[in-house]
């Protein structure tokens, strides 16, 4: 009998960190499989997390595949499943199935300059690919991160960002002026326009709210980026994660299986229904 894709593997939460508080809280979870870890994934892939009794939701894996000890997820409290995840403690059991989706074609990007553009919780899928590229920094050109959130309190990975700043160019932004903020003030697309990354030998990865993605793409196009140089991730409501339940489709694509990573060249051809 083939493996039953609907049955999750059990995992233990080994670390919880509060990234963002307030009305739209974000926590980072690290989970370790109870049994042997044969979960191998690539950057940009997703996993379906179970809170037994509440249900399942799909999340981008934000840790790098180079890390084998645990899987990391950044979770914004949004509904039933995420609220119960936010109530969980270290040691609690969740279910994980996956990995699902296509992931970023990182292999193809070797030798190129990588520009990561994120907004809010959208840093999660970027985090995996950014850290993987950082781990093999010599294989890539310049790495740049442009990241913003509503306020400085809404930025995730603040401590880690300080670390990363030492290694690569990081341009942060917040939407509205704050007293001790020294970096860019404005929306992420404006920051992109302001920093003018060069399209030469570059690939960009943009993740964030749909409206931000839309304007970042416009900003990149204005800077001379080709559609093939622009990558993004799409999210839609998912239940099965394996291309059967029928709700996450964009055209004939199932985002859970054929996505969530798309180049703008590919995504442009699909119906705008996400």
């Amino acid at each position: 009998m083939d493996h039953n894709a609907y049955v999750p593997k059990l995992a233990k939460i080994i670390e919880i960190k509060e990234e963002v508080g307030g009305a739209r809280p974000i926590k980072t979870f690290r989970a370790q499989f109870q049994n042997k870890n044969d979960f191998s994934f690539s950057c940009g892939q997703c996993a379906m997390l179970s809170v037994f009794g509440k249900g399942e939701s799909i999340f981008a894996i934000s840790s790098s595949p180079l890390i084998k000890d645990y899987l990391q997820f950044n979770i914004l409290k949004m509904g039933r499943v995420t609220s119960s995840l936010h109530e969980m403690q270290v040691g609690d059991t969740i279910g994980i199935r996956g990995p699902y989706g296509n992931g970023f074609p990182l292999e193809e990007w070797k030798g190129k300059n990588l520009i990561f553009i994120g907004g809010g919780i959208g840093l999660a899928p970027i985090w995996s690919v950014l850290n993987t590229a950082l781990g093999k920094k010599e294989e890539y050109g310049d790495l740049t991160l442009i990241y913003g959130a509503r306020t400085s309190k809404d930025l995730v990975f603040r401590e880690e960002l300080e670390e990363i700043k030492k290694k690569i160019a990081v341009h942060l932004s917040i939407d509205v002026e704050e007293s001790d903020w020294n970096e860019f003030v404005g929306f992420v697309p404006q920051n992109v326009t302001d920093k003018k990354p060069s399209p030469k030998n570059a690939i960009t990865v943009t993740c964030g709210p749909p409206i931000m993605i839309k304007f970042v793409i416009k900003a990149l196009e204005d800077l001379g980026f080709e559609d093939e140089q622009i990558y993004t991730t799409v999210e839609n409501k998912m239940k099965c994660g394996i291309g059967k339940c029928g709700r996450c489709n964009i055209g004939s694509h199932y985002v859970c299986k054929d996505g969530p990573v798309y180049s703008w060249a590919e995504l442009k051809k699909l119906p705008q229904e996400y």
Partner: protein, 346 residues
């Protein structure tokens, strides 16, 4: 293998099959539906279309995927709950409904084989009944690559020849069933074969509804995503689930946890049918809905059947059973909609 079985012998054959779980169309009030059969003589194959296709035998509306239970020490256990694979026979499967299973087969195969679906599917023998008279005035199987005597997906096809059935075995599973009662079956005569041919040719003529130039539809649709047609055609849509729940090819589902006790947690993870016609189908937890209105949902139904599925699996996701037309409470007619699509293209 081709055989003749007299109608008198038919219940005797069914009697030989008692070790199987047997489904056949049964009448309840004015409606026919597939139900399990206790007595061989209670099978009546003189029935119009069943309201529900037999898909719910293979892909039930509710399927328990797994059970979970946490002990007092907060130790959680998860148990996979695969269905029984009791050998099952479905009598009286209409060719369109059998063909539909060959389409859902594609969905539930692939990289992630669906064990629940396949366990039932593999243990079920489909015995079809050719439609000598279209079971519904809205039948249009001929337009979507089927026919009233299509063998696709069937293990046996029976054709009613008045006082006897012409029985064709189409698979090993089918032959096994015939061999269980060999003496009851006779060799067909040349006249029988002629009669079958005649009946089938006549049956095809009786199908009056059709989608003209269907081959053009997928490519026309491709350029029609933003057409105002979808607003127009969905004006009377009620956003109910009839068209999809009664469809033999629709297969979308939901997964939810049903909880018997929340502390310690105990419950089941359950798969139930779902439909693109319900507004919550695609609604994100944030409230964002990529398909926010009836127009986008009608469009999804049409596109999935005549564009997306064609692109993905090279088949229409429709077998022309006509249920969605006959049962739509406001008379939305998929043939009419496609007629307008075609007009739009020309």
């Amino acid at each position: 293998m081709e055989k003749i079985l007299t109608k008198k012998s038919f219940p005797l054959w069914v009697k030989e099959l008692v070790s199987y779980k047997i489904y056949a169309p049964q009448k309840n009030g004015d409606l026919w539906n597939f139900e399990t059969i206790k007595k061989p003589e209670s099978i009546n194959l003189d029935f119009p279309n069943t309201v529900l296709p037999p898909k719910n035998i293979i892909f039930p509306q509710r399927e328990v995927l797994l059970e979970f239970e946490s002990s007092n020490e907060n130790k959680l256990q998860v148990k996979e709950t695969l269905p029984d694979d009791d050998p099952t026979i479905i009598f009286g499967v209409r060719p369109c409904d059998a063909k539909a299973l060959t389409l859902t087969d594609k969905v539930f195969s692939g990289d992630f084989k669906d064990p629940y679906y396949w366990k039932r599917r593999n243990s079920t023998v489909l015995i079809g009944l050719a439609c000598n008279i279209p079971p519904s005035p809205n039948c249009f199987c001929l337009s979507v690559g089927g026919s009233p005597h299509s063998k696709e997906g069937l293990d046996i096809l029976m054709t009613d020849l008045g006082d006897k059935y012409f029985v064709e075995s189409l698979s090993e599973k089918g032959s096994t069933l015939i061999n269980l009662a060999k003496p009851l079956f006779q060799q067909p005569k040349a006249a029988d074969k002629k009669a079958v041919e005649k009946t089938q040719a006549e049956a095809e003529k009786k199908i009056t509804r059709q989608i003209k130039d269907i081959k053009k539809i997928p490519s026309i649709l491709k350029n029609m995503f933003d057409s105002p047609l979808w607003d127009e055609e969905s004006l009377s849509c009620l956003r109910c689930g009839i068209c999809t729940y009664l469809c033999p090819t629709c297969h979308c589902f939901d997964i939810n946890d049903e909880v018997a006790s929340s502390s310690p947690v105990k419950g089941k993870r359950v798969r139930t049918w779902d439909t693109c016609q319900f507004p919550d189908f695609t609604m994100h937890s944030s409230g964002h809905n990529p398909r926010p209105d009836r127009a986008s949902r009608l469009r999804q139904r049409i596109f999935h059947k005549f564009q997306y599925f064609v692109e993905r699996y090279q088949n229409y996701l429709c077998t022309g059973c006509g249920r969605c037309i006959s049962k739509c409470p406001v008379g939305i007619d998929i043939i009419e909609v496609l007629d307008k699509v075609r007009d739009y293209g020309s």
